[in-house]
């Protein structure tokens, strides 16, 4: 089935305040497509993790939010992009409790568990792109 995206917007991730704004915007979009309270909270939390990763490890970037539709199903897709140092070993980065910074090491794996779709690609030295989606 073809997936078409209807509403696309881009938000910058340059500071801690931007992470809060991303959360608020994602929550508003999640409500718009009719996600329940639990799914909203899950997806907002996943977005918060990835936005903070882009800020802390990628040196800032941006997120593209789009409402996607496949037939009757509606969903929300977020693409986080940064031009940071990238991730050399994605498998290791996805491992729970592994962190290269000072965090809990649960962000990436947690974001995957909190989303329906999860896709990560990274080129060392060029940046990282993470795409997540949640369907109603």
């Amino acid at each position: 089935m073809t997936v078409k995206s209807t509403k696309v917007e881009t938000l910058p991730i340059r500071s801690g305040d931007d992470v809060v704004r991303v959360r608020q915007r994602v929550r508003a979009l999640a409500i718009e497509i009719g996600l329940g309270l639990v799914d909203q909270t899950k997806f907002v939390t996943a977005a918060s993790e990835l936005a903070r990763n882009a800020l802390d490890y990628g040196g800032g970037g941006e997120v593209r939010a789009e409402i996607v539709q496949a037939g009757m199903r509606k969903g929300l897709r977020l693409t986080f992009e940064d031009q940071g140092p990238g991730i050399a070993d994605i498998e290791q980065a996805m491992t729970d409790h592994y962190t290269s910074g000072g965090g809990l090491g649960l962000g990436l794996g947690g974001a995957k568990r909190l989303s329906n779709e999860f896709h990560i690609e990274s080129t060392p030295g060029a940046g990282t792109r993470v795409t997540i989606a949640r369907w109603k």
């Binding site: 639990v38 909270t41 918060s48 903070r52 649960l106 947690g110």
Partner: protein
């Protein structure tokens, strides 16, 4: 023969002072700042006259570089005016117009004096434009800085106000958290809590997160650090107010809060009372009283 622009401007300001000031007052009077009632006409005129005098003096000593040393006192005077306007709630336009509305009278006066000499006219107008634009921008910069100061101060006040430590009972403290828990706020929270534990000789501290909309790994980490610090001070920590959706999210995230947690603050308080050897009982009502 054409004259130097600064010289033209200087002479015009001295020779035509009365006319320029009158025209400036008139244009200030038409501006919105008076109509909003935030400032009186006499005050506005005093400010205008002072600024005019300083501009004239600065021109006499220095050239057209409004960033230069001769303009220091003028810039400070304008900064004071901008700051007071930022606090009084003027719009940016009103604030900038205070300086920009001087342009028209000055241009008119230069035109009147040198209308026949195109080169002199252009030089004088250019000099006036350059100085007044720079000064106008300066007032805007100060205006914005003052506004940012106000916002920054409010932010700090909110951070302090929104993290009160409440004494529920002898030795039992509650810390209701509301809003986003970032690193800066965690610092304030931790400091307040640890100090309160010392001051109140608390045995138990309850951290209530009912008002925290999103608990991600960073917030969880901050919570764990606060709990660990409180434990080092000899106080037990409970976490309360974890809503169902937050609980599910935390499980999926894989965060383990290694603390006693309760759904509501009331439950946590009841547990705290039990742990400190207290019991809440319903008052015995005598048979007579019931009737």
């Amino acid at each position: 023969m054409s004259m130097d622009g600064a010289e033209v401007l200087k002479r015009t300001l001295i020779e035509d002072e009365a006319a320029i000031l009158d025209a400036w007052y008139a244009s200030l009077r038409e501006g919105t700042s008076l109509q909003s009632g935030r400032i009186r006409e006499a005050e506005l005129q005093t400010q205008a006259k002072a600024v005019y005098g300083q501009l004239r003096d600065a021109l006499a000593n220095g050239g057209v570089e409004a960033d230069g040393e001769q303009y220091t006192s003028l810039r400070e005077a304008l900064a004071d005016i901008s700051r007071s306007r930022a606090i009084q709630g003027f719009t940016p336009t009103d604030t900038a117009n205070f300086v920009f509305s001087l342009k028209a009278p000055v241009f008119a006066a230069i035109g009147k004096a040198h209308g026949t000499d195109a080169a002199t006219l252009a030089a004088g107008t250019w000099a006036a434009s350059k100085i007044l634009d720079r000064l106008g921008l300066h007032t805007m910069e100060v205006f914005l800085e003052s506004r940012e100061e106000v916002i920054g101060r409010q932010g700090q006040e909110i951070a302090e106000l929104s993290t009160p430590v409440v004494r529920l009972w002898d030795g039992i403290l509650a810390l209701p958290l509301i809003g986003t828990l970032d690193s800066a706020r965690t610092g304030v929270v931790m400091e307040n809590l640890l100090q309160a534990i010392v001051d109140e000789e608390a045995e138990i501290a309850i951290i209530d997160i009912t008002g925290v909309p999103t608990v991600d790994t960073l917030v969880a980490q901050h919570l764990l650090k606060t709990v660990a610090a409180a434990r080092l001070m000899g106080a037990d920590c409970f976490v309360s107010g974890i809503r169902p959706q937050i609980a599910q999210t935390m499980v999926h995230l894989g965060v383990e809060l290694n603390v006693v947690s309760k759904a509501t603050l009331a439950d946590a308080f009841a547990l705290a009372l039990r742990q400190t050897g207290r019991k809440v009982v319903r008052q015995q009502v005598s048979a007579e009283g019931r009737r």
